[in-house]
């Protein structure tokens, strides 16, 4: 006899199935009927837990928004040096995606689908990095360098592109030529390259590249 799921168990099974389907087909590519079939319930049962496909989708995203606590832990435990905090945040971010690449797939689908609410969710995740980089560089880049504002804005974009690409390469489409480097080794090297590219080396970092209050 089939085990009858409790309400919370049923909700969790719907969320899990929906996550997989949204990851492989995007928001518009999946119907409520399809999700209901995947967990062997009627659409009416599904609607008891989630009143619309959008609510269900938002609940899937909500599951992935728990990284904040880890960012706070990182800041508390890693000190306030620019490089340390950036490396710690990057580690938290890539660990979350390595454990569950569905979030990256959902993000890529959302870019094509153009749902403003969803795009805001993902932009907000990246904003933690771009804010941090822009704020840090704004304080520490000399004021008289040419194109200062453009450099600051571009640096955040560069970082976002770099980390997103390494996640795609390692989590979604593993490449033979990168097989000997782990996701963590690659991201560490990229963060180091990034710091060099914006003119910050470890000597400078340890001396002055700190975020001030």
């Amino acid at each position: 006899m089939q085990h009858r799921l409790s309400g919370p168990e049923r909700r969790e099974s719907i969320l899990s199935a929906a996550q997989g389907l949204f990851a492989s087909k995007g928001f518009h590519g999946v119907s409520v009927d399809e999700i209901a079939r995947a967990v062997d319930v009627s659409p009416a049962i599904l609607y008891r837990h989630f009143d619309s496909k959008q609510t269900l989708y938002n609940a899937v995203l909500e599951k992935f928004s728990c990284q904040r606590q880890s960012y706070v832990d990182t800041i508390v435990n890693h000190g306030t040096r620019f490089e340390d905090a950036l490396a710690g945040m990057t580690q938290v971010y890539i660990s979350g995606i390595a454990e569950n690449p569905d979030i990256l797939k959902i993000e890529l689908h959302s870019l094509l689908e153009g749902n403003p609410a969803t795009q805001a969710f993902f932009q907000n995740r990246w904003k933690s990095f771009t804010d941090y980089i822009e704020f840090g560089l704004n304080e520490y880049l000399p004021y008289d360098i040419p194109n200062r504002e453009k450099i600051i804005l571009s640096a955040g974009l560069m970082f976002q592109g770099m980390i997103r690409e390494v996640l795609i390469q390692k989590c979604l489409q593993p490449q033979d030529r990168l097989v000997d480097l782990s996701l963590y080794e690659l991201s560490h090297e990229l963060v180091t390259l990034f710091l060099h590219s914006i003119g910050i080396n470890k000597t400078q970092l340890s001396r002055k590249a700190r975020i001030s209050g």
Binding site: Y71, D73, S128, D131, Y132, R210, I211, G213
Partner: protein
């Protein structure tokens, strides 16, 4: 007389920048002194609760003023 010794405006900043700036500001303060923080990120409410729990600093108050989130944190002895 104000009920804080120093103030930090973290409006418009996303997690973890408000926490990072608060940590830095508190490190420059004396034990027992209070920092007032203004933030606009709704998630900062939970962030500062977690921050205080972990650092031992006291979250004296946490509330909303004019659509912004305002926190008073007293540095631990």
């Amino acid at each position: 007389m104000s009920d804080f010794d120093s103030e930090l405006d973290a409006s418009g900043l996303n997690c973890p920048l408000p926490i990072l700036r608060a940590k830095k500001a508190i490190s420059a303060m004396e034990a027992g002194q209070t920092l007032r923080i203004i933030a606009t990120d709704p998630g900062s409410v939970k962030d500062f609760e977690a921050f205080c729990k972990q650092t031992g600093n006291e979250l004296k108050s946490s509330g909303e003023e004019n659509g912004k989130f305002v926190f008073l944190i007293q540095k631990a002895a």
